[in-house]
Amino acid sequence: MDDLSANRRVGWVLGLPPTAWLLVFFLVPLGLIWVLSFGEKRGIVDIAITWTFDNYQRALDPLYLQIFAKSFWFAGITTAVCLLVAFPIALAITFATPRWKPILLLLTILPFWTNLLIRTYALIAVLRTRGYVNFTLEWLWEKADALLVLVGLGHLQLLGERFEPVELLYNNFAVVFGLVYVHLPFMVLPLYAALDRLDRSYIEASLDLGASQFRTFASVVVPLALPGIVSGVIITFIPALGSFLTPDLLGGTDSQMIANVIERQFKSANDWPFGAALSFLLMYITFFALALRAMASRGRSAMEAA
C-alpha cells in the first residue's frame, strides 16, 4: 500500500469526485436533517432553527415511547423467530452434501433478489380474507362439515353455521409474519458462515465422549457459533427495526412502527423537525447496535489470538 502523501495528484483525481459526491449528496442532506431536528415549526413551510430540544423531548411522550417500544418488540420477536427457524436451516446447509450445498444456498439467497415491495404484496394475496390461506381453511371447513353431516352430526352445527374467514391481515400478527418473511435470509447467511468455519472435530469429540446430540449442541455448537449468532441477530434486528413497507402495507392502525411515524411527519402531518428528531433517534439506535457488533467481532479476534 502506498502512502497518499507520496502521490497526491493520483489521490486527488481518484478521491475528489466520490468524496465530493458523498459530501454534497449524502452527508449534507443528513446534516440538514440533524439541524432540522433542533428546529421549530413556524408555518406551513417555515422552520426556524432555534436549537431547541423540544422535538427530542416530544419523542419521549408516552405516545411515541409506546411506538418505539412496539418497534423494538416487533423487531425483537422477528429476530427471535428468525433465529429459531434459521439455525436448523444453517445447520442443514453446513452439513449438506457438496452437490446440495450450493443449491440450498442459492435457494436461501434468491428471495433477496426479489423486490421487497413485491414480496410484501405477495403476502397480502396469501393472507387477506379472500386469500389462499383462508381459501384453504374454507375448503377444509366444508370437508369437515360434510363429514359431520355424513356421521349424522350435521344438525348440531358444531363448526358454526358458516365458515368465518380468519383475519390474518392488517394486524400485529401480519407485521411480524411479514418481517420474518423478509428478514429470514439475513439470519441464515451469517449463521451458515459461522457454522461452516466451525471445526467439526469438536462436535465429534463431544459425541465420542458420550454427550447427547442436544448437549453437544448446547455446550459445543452454540458457544462456538456465538459470534455468528450475534452477527445474525444484529443484522436482522437493524433493518427490521427501521422497516417501513411491511408495517405500512400489512399492519393495521395500531401496528405502526417508527419509520411509519417518521414518514407521516414528513408527508401528511408536515412536522419536519419532529420527524427529523425521530430519524436521528432511529439512527443513533442503529449505530449503537453496529458498535455492539463491532465489539463482538473484536472480542472474537482477540479470543482467536489468545
Binding site: M1, D3, L4, S5, V10, G11, L14, G15, P17, P18, W21, L22, F25, F26, L27, P29, L30, L32, I33, P88, I89, L91, A92, T97, L107, P111, W113, T114, N115, L117, I118, R119, Y121, A122, I124, A125, R128, Y132, Y181, L184, I203, E204, L207, Q213, I238, L241, G242, F244, L245, L249, I262, E263, F266, G275, A276, S279, L282, M283, T286, L290
Partner: protein, 281 residues
C-alpha cells in the same frame, strides 16, 4: 450376495442433512419463502379476476399492463434512472475502491466509515434526508423529461456507489502488484498503468458492481418514495400505489416482469463474478 438396492445406512452422527426433522424444517421454510412468490407469478397468468381459482392460462393481464400508460411511463422512468445511476455509481465506486485499496492515509478508518454510511443507515432516514435536501436547495421541478428525474437519480447514486466500491475492492484484493511495477519499469505512465493493467483486472468486479447498482436502483422503493413527485413516478412507486388500492392480476403481471428482470440480472452478475474468480487469482 448381490443386493438390488444398496442398503440405506442410518444417518451418521454428523449427517444432519439426512435427519428427517431437519429435512422437514428445510422443506417447510422453503415453502414459506417461495409459495407466496410462486402463487403471485402463477396467478398473473390466471384467466379469472378473482385471483383464487385457476381458470386457464392467459396473457390478458400482461396485455392490459402494456396498455396501462401510467405503468409504462413508470417503467421507462425506472429504466432511465437505473441506467444513468449505474453509470455514475460504477465510476464513483471504482474510484473509491482504488483509492482505498492503493493508499493509506490519515483518518482512513473514518473515511471508510463515512463511505459505508449509505449502506448501513435505515432507508427511511436517507429518504427523508433526500426529501429535505431537495426541498431546501429548491431543486427545480417540472423540468422536461428526462431532466425531471435528476433528483431521484442523484439519490440512487448516493446509495449505490458505496456498494459498487465494496464489490470492486474485493476484486482488487486479488491483484498482483508486480504487474504494475513491471509496467512502470517498462516506462508506462500512471494513466497507462491504470488503463491497461488495473482496469482489465477490475473488469469482472466492475460488471458485477454495475449490475448490483442497476438492481438496487430498479428495486428501490423507500428512498424513491420520498424523492419522487407526481410527474416522476418509478415502477415500484407505481406498483405501490396500485397495491394500496387492490390486489389485481395486472399488478401480478407487472410484478412478475420486475422479478424476472432482477433475477436475470443478478444471475448474470453472479456468473460473471464466479468466472472472474476462476480466471484471476
Amino acid at each position: 450376495m448381490i443386493r438390488l438396492w444398496p442398503r440405506r445406512e442410518p444417518p451418521g452422527p454428523l449427517d444432519y442433512g439426512r435427519r428427517a426433522w431437519l429435512r422437514l424444517t428445510l422443506l417447510a421454510t422453503f415453502v414459506f419463502l417461495y409459495a407466496p412468490i410462486v402463487t403471485l407469478v402463477a396467478f398473473s397468468f390466471n384467466d379469472s379476476r378473482r385471483n383464487i381459482v385457476w381458470r386457464g392460462f392467459t396473457w390478458k393481464y400482461y396485455e392490459r399492463a402494456l396498455e396501462n400508460d401510467g405503468l409504462i411511463t413508470a417503467f421507462a422512468n425506472s429504466l432511465t434512472i437505473a441506467l444513468v445511476s449505474t453509470l455514475v455509481s460504477t465510476v464513483l465506486g471504482a474510484m473509491v475502491a482504488v483509492l482505498l485499496w492503493r493508499f493509506r492515509f490519515r483518518l482512513k478508518t473514518v473515511y471508510e466509515g463515512a463511505m459505508s454510511l449509505p449502506i448501513v443507515i435505515p432507508e427511511i432516514c436517507m429518504g427523508v434526508a433526500m426529501l429535505a435536501f431537495f426541498a431546501r436547495v429548491q431543486w427545480p421541478s417540472g423540468l422536461a423529461w428526462p431532466l425531471n428525474l435528476g433528483a431521484i437519480t442523484i439519490a440512487h447514486v448516493s446509495f449505490s456507489f458505496p456498494f459498487v466500491a465494496v464489490v470492486v475492492r474485493a476484486r482488487l484484493a486479488s491483484f498482483n502488484r508486480d504487474l504494475e511495477e513491471a509496467a512502470r519499469d517498462l516506462g508506462a505512465s500512471e494513466w497507462q498503468v491504470f488503463r491497461d493493467i488495473l482496469i482489465p483486472h477490475m473488469r469482472p468486479g466492475l460488471v458485477a458492481g454495475a449490475l448490483l447498482a442497476f438492481t438496487l436502483s430498479l428495486d428501490d422503493f423507500v428512498i424513491t418514495f420520498f424523492t419522487s413527485g407526481p410527474d416522476t413516478v418509478t415502477f415500484p412507486v407505481k406498483v405501490y400505489s396500485m397495491v394500496r388500492f387492490s390486489v389485481t392480476p395486472e399488478v401480478n403481471a407487472a410484478s412478475t416482469v420486475l422479478i424476472v428482470i432482477t433475477i436475470a440480472l443478478t444471475t448474470v452478475a453472479l456468473m460473471l463474478q464466479s468466472r472472474g474468480e476462476a480466471k484471476g487469482g
